[in-house]
């Protein structure tokens, strides 16, 4: 295990360097001048030239790249072109919100989608095609609803009509009730976004398990159906679920970017959206680098979890 982790850790370095390079080039390929974004629409060209000089965005590309890579190597992500704040500070301030929202969504998404997939598989195995189709089609329809649209509908209904949840304001971490109310809508939106894919994978895996001999044996021994489904079939379908959970993190990261912005949450998605609109190169690079690192780490963890879920799997 340790050797494996060291080996995977070593592979992270070129991955990160690749990400750093791609992101560096990508943000500079986006048309638009950071000085124009920072300065707004009423700055004249003369003022913009002064600003470019101050921001250091008028130097040669290679020089900018070298400066950036050497800073990252020293764990310095630079300072925001807009606020002048260290990117590390901005990212670390925003990280807790994103992690809490992301993890909560992941868990809630699993709680919703795994039973849907399992029941769909069960219905299918018992010949109830209608119920299976209804569950899987329903999940797919939900999957096609754009998150930002659903967010607005949720705001309209739960926030304006019913007045249950706030849509703005800082998060008071010391007040759990406030935290739950403040994060309920964004977490729900992100959870719903995962339902279709997780339910589909669960359904396929469980359906396969339900046809296995050990399930037949369990039934023959008189084990109750719910127990057969959840204790035996579902447990043996865990491997694909772990895979899809790891992959969901990527999707969640994409989802948080939009959702945080709509719900005015001070997370990394909000930071990233503002940075992109403002061509704030160091912040874009910093946030994407951290997102990429999170994804890499989750993938390593997924591999490790495989060995726990299925002792036959060996890390090599």
């Amino acid at each position: 295990m340790t050797a494996y982790l060291i080996k995977r850790g070593g592979a992270v370095v070129p991955t990160v360097l690749g990400i750093v390079t791609v992101v560096f080039l990508m943000v500079r390929l986006i048309p638009g001048d950071p000085a124009a974004a920072v300065g707004g629409e009423t700055l004249s060209g003369e003022a913009l030239e002064l600003l470019r000089e101050r921001l250091g965005t008028n130097g040669p590309l290679l020089e900018q790249y070298w400066n950036y890579v050497s800073s990252v190597a020293q764990f310095d992500l630079g300072r925001s072109l807009h606020t002048g704040l260290p990117v590390t500070t901005m990212v670390m301030d925003a990280l807790p919100v994103t992690v809490v929202v992301g993890l909560s969504s992941l868990v809630l998404g699993m709680i919703i989608s795994v039973p849907i997939g399992a029941f769909a598989a069960y219905a299918r195995s018992r010949g109830n095609v209608g119920a299976d189709s209804a569950l899987t089609t329903g999940a797919m329809i939900i999957d096609t609803i754009p998150g930002f649209w659903l967010a607005l509908i949720f705001i309209l209904f739960f926030s304006i009509q019913l007045g249950w949840f706030p849509v703005s304001g800082p998060i008071d971490w010391g007040d759990p009730v406030h935290v739950v109310k403040r994060l309920a809508l964004p977490v729900s939106i992100l959870s719903i976004g995962q339902v279709a894919s997780v339910a589909r994978i669960t359904r396929t895996a469980v359906l396969e398990s339900l046809n296995d001999d050990y399930v037949r044996t369990a039934r023959a021994l008189g084990t109750p159906e719910l127990q057969v489904l959840f204790r035996h079939a579902l447990r043996n379908s865990a491997l694909p679920l772990v895979t899809i959970t790891g992959l969901s993190v990527g999707r969640l990261i994409g989802g948080t970017v939009i959702t945080e912005s709509i719900f005015s949450l001070p997370g990394m998605g909000t930071v990233l959206i503002k940075a992109i609109a403002g061509r704030d190169y160091p912040v874009i690079q910093g946030v994407i680098l951290l997102f990429a690192l999170m994804f890499v780490i989750v993938n390593v963890l997924t591999d490790v979890v495989y060995t726990r879920v299925d002792p036959r799997v060996r890390l090599s």
């Binding site: 048309p31 638009g32 001048d33 124009a36 974004a37 920072v38 300065g39 707004g40 629409e41 009423t42 700055l43 004249s44 060209g45 003369e46 003022a47 913009l48 030239e49 002064l50 600003l51 000089e53 101050r54 807009h82 606020t83 002048g84 704040l85 901005m90 301030d93 925003a94 607005l152 705001i155 309209l156 926030s159 304006i160 007045g163 706030p166 849509v167 703005s168 304001g169 800082p170 912005s261 709509i262 719900f263 005015s264 001070p266 997370g267 909000t270 930071v271 503002k274 609109a277 403002g278 061509r279």
Partner: protein, 556 residues
């Protein structure tokens, strides 16, 4: 002080702040009730220049706080639509920061919220030399800096303006003071500016906006690179907390020179998405929502929810800019054909009812606005005749535009359809906002649009029409260069007589409307939303609110 007053009374006429600028004059100095302590302490007081001068409204006296029952807790929650980049007025901040900056900082003059004209603030009175090259300001003697940085003196003014001009700072506002030769403190409460050439509009340049906002040397040095996040000013509110991407808190400044504000605290919650902002105010999560947009359906919903809609209309005009370097558009007949081929009035009525068609580069509220201009109203026959005169049956051009909220505005699509009917093919060149700004600044477009908020007519006319301001240096994106207009503009800048100056500006507006390098398009509104218990929210000509007179009425 006494000598100053004696000299003033002996040598010059008196006038109100607005009159001193707009009237130039004649009335070369202003005295604005600085002896009237009651007026100074009353946030809703109307200042009186005395001697028969026109009174100038310091703040909009919508409600007298003494006439209503005030809430016990004077704490306000406001929706802020974008986080300020920073609050160092000399390095950079954008329009969204002004609602905070103009309340944290103060300047020699402020802008009257209703007229946009300069009115006294840190300067109680001023004297302008007959040739408008020397401005001497008498300062308040009771202003103190936030965070116990001590009393305000003329040395602070000298430091502040020299800081803007210091090339080491690289202030983006240094070009605004290009005409300033020197600034010196005559004593602790008198400061004198010398200009390189006459400028009757200089009072605007020292107003509460960017380069005019006074900063404290010791505070700038203390906070260094972090000063933009730790602003120290002389305004009625001081910044006490700033949580990135979340909120900012202002608390009233007890040492404000007009007396402490009634409001104790203003918390600006960052809510960028306008639908979320609408939900937030309807839910009561905020008391006031800044810039809520002009979508009629939303305005209707907010009205139905019982909210007040403080707003400013016609504060600035949006213009279409024709790039003459694109062959077809160098012919004024074809530019006019575009103008006559569009039904701006109907389109605005349909798609943006809070806006009106504009006919000049200057907004109508400005004293220098002239109605004697060529007005382009929908006349497809005239448009066709102009094209025939130019020997062209049809032509295409690219209209650079953005896709706000994910789609091109209905207004543009409507005009596109009308133009197509007369043989003008408007191809949409849709770009993202930052790209739009960059390309516009570089002059890289065929036709685009600009909304330039300013209260100084000289800023607008010089900016758009003077060849010194060609892109990428300045805003003259139409690359307009008419020697007659240039000489008239320069004469107007040095003209002290109000009527003569009006005539000069009217002449410029007439010539420009006839040659049409820019097509004045619309004059829109900035609309806020507020609960009725929040009194005295007045959106000024720069779309900002002076929070000093705002109070919260007792409510259930």
């Amino acid at each position: 002080m006494t000598n100053f007053r004696r000299m003033q009374r002996r040598t010059i006429l008196k006038g109100a702040g607005a009159a001193a600028v707009a009237g130039g004059l004649g009335a070369l100095s202003v005295s604005c009730g600085s002896d009237d302590d009651d007026a100074a302490a009353d946030p809703t007081a109307t200042t009186d220049a005395g001697d028969g001068a026109v009174p100038t409204t310091a703040v909009s006296p919508t409600v007298d706080p003494n006439a209503i029952q005030l809430a016990d807790e004077q704490k306000l929650l406001v929706r802020q639509y974008n986080e300020p980049v920073g609050l160092d007025p000399h390095t950079l901040f954008r329009i969204e920061a002004e609602n905070i900056a103009t309340n944290v900082y103060a300047a020699l003059t402020a802008y009257d919220p209703l007229t946009g004209n300069p009115i006294p603030d840190l300067a109680t009175e001023w004297e302008i030399s007959p040739d408008a090259t020397e401005y001497t300001f008498k300062l308040v003697d009771n202003a103190t800096w936030h965070q116990d940085f001590g009393p305000f003196t003329a040395a602070d003014v000298v430091y502040s303006f020299n800081r803007v001009l210091d090339s080491a700072l690289g202030s983006v506002y240094a070009p605004e003071l290009n005409n300033m030769q020197s600034v010196e403190a005559l004593d602790d409460y008198t400061v004198k500016f010398v200009l390189k050439s006459p400028d009757v509009n200089f009072l605007y340049q020292v107003g509460n906006y960017h380069q005019g906002q006074i900063v404290k040397k010791e505070a700038v040095e203390k906070y260094g690179a972090d000063y933009a996040r730790n602003p120290v000013g002389l305004g009625p509110f001081e910044m006490t907390e700033w949580q990135a991407n979340s909120y900012m808190v202002l608390k009233r400044h007890e040492g404000y020179h007009k007396g402490p504000a009634t409001l104790e605290e203003i918390r600006f919650n960052l809510i960028q998405e306008v639908n979320a902002a609408e939900a937030a105010i309807i839910n009561g999560e905020v008391d006031v929502a800044m810039s809520i947009g002009t979508v009629p359906e939303r305005i209707k919903r907010l009205t139905e929810a019982g909210l007040d809609l403080p707003q400013v209309s016609g504060a600035s005009n949006s213009v279409w800019m024709f790039n003459p370097e694109f062959g077809q558009l160098s012919d004024p007949r074809l530019r006019k054909a575009i103008a006559y081929g569009m039904d701006i009035k109907s389109s605005l009525e349909q798609f943006n009812p809070s806006a009106r068609q504009a006919f000049s580069i200057l907004p109508q509220y400005m004293e220098m606005y002239s109605d004697a201009v060529t007005k382009y109203t929908y006349d497809p026959q005239k448009a066709k005749a102009l094209m025939a005169e130019a020997g062209i049956e049809s032509f295409s051009y690219k209209q650079m535009t953005t896709a706000a909220q994910g789609s091109v505005s209905d207004d543009i699509l409507y005009q596109q359809a009308l133009l197509k009917d007369i043989g003008i093919n408007m191809e949409l060149d849709i770009v993202e906002n930052t790209v739009y700004n960059s390309r516009r600044t570089a002059g890289d477009f065929e036709v685009s649009n600009r909304l330039y908020p300013a209260v100084n007519p000289d800023t607008l006319l010089f900016g758009y029409l003077h060849p010194d301001n060609l892109p990428p240096k300045g805003f003259n994106s139409a690359r307009y260069n008419n020697p007659e207009v240039v000489s008239t503009l320069e004469a107007a800048r040095g003209e002290l007589d109000l009527e003569k100056r009006k005539e000069l500006y009217a002449k410029v507006q007439q010539i420009v409307s006839d040659e049409l390098p820019y097509l004045p398009y619309s004059s829109g509104a900035t609309i806020w939303a507020a609960y009725p218990y929040v009194k005295n929210v007045v959106v000024d000509k720069l779309s900002a609110v002076n929070w000093y007179p705002v109070v919260i009425e007792a409510h259930s």
